[in-house]
């Protein structure tokens, strides 16, 4: 009987020691309930936000911009999925029609904006900087979303459970997105502490100002909003007067030296962090290139999909003196008839079969000058406008007064548009420029005569998006 008692006691002991054991916290991740306690949590969340920012923009931006401008054609490989972009015949299966990555990023911004104010920081300026960056990233993202899709869900509250309000949102009116972008920019600007510069791959106050100029120029020209031009001008002026940036003397250096003084805002890329860049599609698979031409001059690394249209070649090589041409795209002809075309700008270093580590430019000082020129021209100061264009042109052509200051407003607009195309090729600007200048149906061959097609400039929403939330209505026209 004693033995039974002992056994019984051991069982009782076992049970009592067991019950607490079913409370186990994760070891290699952080449980949601354990996050947002210290300044370090907030800093980590900020880095996480930039990681998601890279995921959302570093490769995808091509679908929305250059791919639609008529600059690209098919190269060696023929990826049928890309044809809808080249032809501006998008459908709900087109690559880029899924907005998942953008909203994952927005949710991270919304988490930061919700929780960081509740954390006690020893350094309040650090707290403000994180918040300013989150407002900036959110504004940047919505600025792209609203231009790509028009009406989009405007979400400002992070999702933390599945019974939350607005989990299945509708597409809100465009004005809601613009209101949010404006107020986020105001918040970012006012919160951003002075005297805390960061590397260009994190947002500085100048990045906020550049976005502001970009947004308000669009509001002025496309949405014809009164007073927007003044706001844009103030933003550009603050970057110009800040004296922190300057044009690099050589165009090549902008893309080969990642810590140059022209960069205002970039996306950081490195082989082990960011994976393969979309730019690999402009270079060549080793198996397709005779060995003696490998990286000499034909850059190898991936399957060549993109070649460039006559439109692109004629534009970039218009003036043989333009040092940008050979730094943007290049070609080799092996007689009698083998032609290799490739992209140069972001070809980066060749390591581990691929090319990866080229930081992507979102804003650089050349654009500050071009924005300034565009604003001056809008204000009727054509001589001043040409002066700013010529600062960029001087580096390109090696000539101090490349464009004539005595040009008309229309001529200067044409020059700005063309110089932007040359300067920012591959940088995701020209498509938006064409819309902002109202020239898209005229300049893009595949859009000629299609002005009356409903929403032809906007994107359809991916099948997958509607399948998961049938409150989302397909973009009319698709």
């Amino acid at each position: 009987m004693k033995k039974i008692t002992i056994l019984g006691l051991s069982i009782a002991l076992l049970i009592s020691s067991s019950c607490s054991k079913i409370e186990l916290a994760p070891i290699s991740t952080i449980a949601t309930g354990s996050m947002w306690r210290t300044a370090d949590d907030a800093l980590s969340a900020k880095i996480g936000m930039y990681n998601l920012f890279r995921t959302a923009f570093a490769n995808n931006y091509q679908w929305y911009t250059e791919s639609r401008t008529g600059f690209y054609t098919f190269g060696r490989s023929f990826y049928e999925r890309y044809r809808s972009h080249f032809d501006n015949r998008l459908d709900a299966a087109s690559l880029g029609s899924d907005w998942n990555d953008f909203y994952t990023l927005i949710n991270q911004c919304n988490l930061i904006l919700k929780y960081v104010p509740r954390i006690d920081f020893a350094d309040v300026q650090q707290q403000n900087q994180i918040l300013a960056e989150a407002y900036f990233i959110r504004a940047y993202t919505y600025f792209w979303l609203v231009r790509i899709w028009g009406e989009i869900p405007v979400l400002t509250v992070p999702f933390e459970s599945d019974d939350q309000e607005n989990l299945y949102p509708v597409r809100d009116p465009e004005s809601m997105a613009w209101d949010l972008i404006r107020s986020d920019l105001t918040e970012a600007e006012s919160l951003y502490p002075a005297g805390r510069p960061q590397p260009a791959y994190l947002a500085n106050l100048s990045a906020v100002q550049m976005l502001k100029a970009d947004v308000y120029l669009w509001l002025h020209k496309v949405r014809e909003e009164a007073g927007a031009l003044t706001t844009a001008e103030a933003a550009v002026n603050s970057v110009l007067s800040g004296q922190s940036y300057q044009l690099e003397s050589s165009f090549r250096a902008v893309f080969r030296n990642e810590s140059n003084r022209e960069n205002i805002f970039t996306i950081y890329r490195e082989a082990e962090e960011s994976g393969s860049s979309w730019f690999n599609l402009t270079i060549w698979r080793d198996g397709d290139v005779p060995v003696q031409y490998h990286n000499n001059p034909v850059p190898v690394g991936a399957d060549n999909v993109y070649a460039f249209s006559d439109l692109a070649w004629n534009l970039l090589y218009e003036d043989p003196a333009d040092q940008r041409a050979g730094e943007t795209i290049d070609s080799l002809v092996i007689p009698p008839n083998r032609v290799f075309q490739w992209g140069v700008k972001y070809s980066g270093e060749y390591t581990s079969q691929r090319r990866w580590d080229q930081d992507q430019h979102l804003y650089r000082f050349a654009e500050t000058l071009m924005f300034k020129a565009e604003i001056e021209n809008e204000k009727g100061n054509s001589a001043s406008a040409v002066e700013f264009i010529n600062r960029v042109a001087q580096r390109a052509y090696g000539k101090s007064t490349y464009y004539d200051p005595a040009s008309s407003k229309e001529e200067i607009d044409e020059v700005i548009l063309k110089e932007r195309a040359k300067e920012f090729f591959f940088e995701g600007r020209y498509w938006w420029d064409l819309i902002r200048f109202g020239r898209v149906f005229e300049k893009v061959p595949s859009l000629a005569g299609r002005e009356n097609e409903l929403n032809v400039l906007l994107w359809p929403v991916a099948y997958n998006t509607i399948n998961r939330n049938n409150k989302i209505v397909q973009t009319p026209g698709y």
Binding site: K3, I4, L7, S10, L14, I15, S18, C19, K21, I22, E23, L24, A25, P26, S28, T29, A31, T32, M35, S44, A45, K46, I47, G48, N51, F78, E80, D91, A92, D98, W99, N100, Y103, T104, I106, N107, Q108, L111, P153, L155, P158, F159, S161, D162, Y168, P169, P199, E270, E272, E273, R285, S352, Q353, Y463, N464, T465, N467, R468, N470, Q474
Partner: protein, 1036 residues
Amino acid sequence: MIAYMLSAQSVQVKGKVTDSHGEPLIGVNVLSEKSGTGTITNPEGLFGLAVETGDWLTFSFIGYTAQRIQVLNRTELSVVLEQQANALDEVVAVGYGQQSRRFVTGSVSKITPELIVDRPVSNVVSALQGKVAGVNIFSQNFAPGSTPNIRIRGGSSINYSNNPLVIIDGVPRSMTDINPNDIESIEVLKDASATAVYGARASNGVVLITTRRGKVSQRPEIVFQSSMSYQQHHKGYPLVSGEEFIRLIRTNAVGSPFESTLYEDGPASHVNGDRSVFTPRWLEAGETVPAGWQRMTDPIFPDKTIIFQENDPADLLFKPGLWQNYHLGATGGSEKIRYAGSVGYTRDNGTVAETGWTRLSMASNVDIDITDKLTFSSGVGYTNTRNPTEASWINSIGRQLIMAPTWRIRYEDGTPVPGFNATATPPPFWRETRDYDQYQAKLNLDGSLIFRPLEGLMLKGNASYYRSDFEDEYFEKSHFFAQNRNAYTNQNVGQTRQLEAIASYNTKIGGSHDISFMAGISDLFISSRDLSLRADGGATDIIPTLNAAPNKINASSVKTEESLIGMFGRIGYIYEGRYLLQASLRRDGSSKFGAGKKWGYFPAVSAGWIVSEEPFMRDVALVDNLKLRASYGFTGNNAIGAYTAQGAYSSVRYARQAGLRATAIPNQNLGWERTGQFDIGVDVGAFRRKLNISFDYYTKITDNLLFSNPLPNTSGFSSITTNIGSVKFYGVDLSAEGTLVQTANFSWNPRLVYSLNRNVVLKLPENDRDRNRIGGYSVPGGDDFGGIAEGEPLNSIIGYKADYIIDNRQQAENARYDELALGISLEDGTAVKGRKFPGDYEWVDRNSDGIINEYDQFVLGYTVPHTTGGFGNMFSWKSFSLDIFMDFALGHSALDRYWMYYNGNGFIGRTRPTKYVLTDSWEKEGDAATASLPKFYVQDQGMQSNYYRDSDQRTWKLNYLCLREVKLSYDLPRSWLTRSGINSVNIFVAGNTLAYFTKERHAREINPEWGTANTYDAGAGYPAVRKFNFGLRVAL
């Protein structure tokens, strides 16, 4: 004279055979060992036989223990055969105990070693295929060391695990851990009354494996088993030859957007040089055809001759391989100490170059009676496996097989040719540039103290420890596509600690009340640690380890822990030996669930009625046993991540800084998935046990499904793990075995297993879609399809349906706009998207809008078979026995992606079509009446996507019948062995997976066991293996 002398020595013996009640036994097999002659008993149980002096007689009868009797000088024998335990009163393992088969009220299938040993398979799961009612076993992959999937009654969940709980000697482990020769019995627990005592983990059924133990006062028995197989792979689609390939591509490329490929290095070009990846080129003037090359007239420039090398990737990949198994075991016992121990070695050389698998296994069970009331039991099990393998079968088999047969394998200097990109290489290049090996070790230690203080009372304390080690190592030499010498190694250590205390008590009250109690608690703790290391930049191909690689790219470790506490009990009551009642309850707490949801209760009740024991049935001679059973109960499933409920922020990197991002949305309400199962069954034994049938009907409804519920892609998360929805699995299990013929020298025993399992989704989370559909397509205006939806079965395959093949221009002009057709004219090169041409499939317009797009797809089939089973026939003639076993599965389909790669001529004309393209394709107007395949295009994906879309045209119905096992064995006559000290020698030849029979011819050209919506899977592609086996079993 000789005849006379023989007959002079023979004596006529007669006698009677009865059972233990004195009833005569009819049809008992009586066999003389010396002469090999025999007879059977007549309806009065009587027999007569001529025997020689000193002869032995064997009396055998199905369901009874055989007896061997020496005649000596007797002429009249009276023989009593005892009913065998494994007929009706065999002991069956149930959760935390044992029961007599007679009184089991749940649905439990028992598999004895005869059905699994001496089969040329490496693991026990393979040996069970088609042999257990209600259990579906299928292989996705046949690589050495791989284990088939196992589903009991279809599983229980939609998108969480449907794998059963496997308990080996009381410890949760994996079925691959043990050598089949070490198994004493396998019990498959199917209904809730059998499984509910395992509570939280039991929804998908439970497999109990008991390993061999010694018995009290058992004579030492040593058994050595050895077998060896020759194995070869089952062949895939017949593919075009080199010459056929060149002709097909050249003639079809002309005028197409891909004509230029004929003028650059390529598989059907005429300009390849010595360093090109492909061989074809024009024969130069005056040149003779090099040795080993073939020639053909250029089909597009008939004055030219093309020469090429034919290098069939299949010849380079596949080779016959050897499979071997050796096993030595000893069992025995004295009054106080019982033991069983073994060592085993299995080696499978595989059928694909540079693959293989070896296993070393050891097992030891020792039981010691310390006193009359106290027993100590211990068990040790260890297996160690090693296999050279591949990280992905897609790159190492699939993408190599689909390539043109005209490629170059080696340059003139003997170095392997790299192929045209890093993941489409000829087999030798791939295998000579990389090494991938996996190692596993599993160790199990357990010890129990069993105390029996009183009659009927048992107290047991058990502690066990289980550790599994997995390691892999990868090294890529410097080669054409990568010079960085990538190297990685991963390690996983899984540890399980289990403490259990169990008490049981059986008693009889009066003459007619049998009562049993069992209660216990269990404390389970599982931890896992993953380590992964990656580096590159080494300077040499000779050192594969990471010490030689200076660039340390990744060093990561991840740990998880899980704990489960269970308290359980069971009460059984038997009245008059024929009315059975049982109830059980388990309470489980799991660390995986949300704060207030950690504990769950799992009750079950069952009842049985042994009708044949009723007085009114005793006189029904035809029926020996008739039992009705019914049960209902609840089980759970906690197969989710250890910390899913708590949400997660995971580490990421940006600009070399560590960051955190929200990766999983928390759900503190996450709780048990609960399956309620109803089972009604009947067991029948008839015609003096010559026919035994067991039949069950069941229905299982799982509520609060652990469900990965997709979230809108505006939420920042792809899904949330939650408990919503309900699914029903229902079906029938039938097993029957019998004795069709039983004579003195010959017997024929057929057996049949038939399982029907269907499912339907009952409830899904509200999402405002038609039938709350998840996934699939939301069609504007309704008629949604695909994914999963209420009222529909799971596992559907979605794709387009071909209506007919467009035969002429008129039909093409009238054809519907097709979103995937590029409409590139071969005549003038113009591209008009959506345009169709003669030879294209016209697809069915589901929504009749005149446009073919994603909304025009249909359910083409299901990936899971509704019917599975097997049937076997065992024939015995004297000392020979022949067992033929076939298994089958019906109702599943596969959407084959390789068909698309082959016939769609992908990779810009580099893939190799099947022979069917030559014979069955549409080529010209009028062919549509007979052609089953569309017009062949170079790079179909860049043209009309006839092959390059999911469709019924490459969805194969996989209904199959497999000749799984044929085994002929022979027992050497005992007389040969009497002086050698050897007890018995059995030699056998066997075949395994000899042939698949399918109605759809393409089904047997892929793997007919694996239903899937996408065959292009990294875990699939190693073809099925046919084995021819020879072996022997010697018992001392």
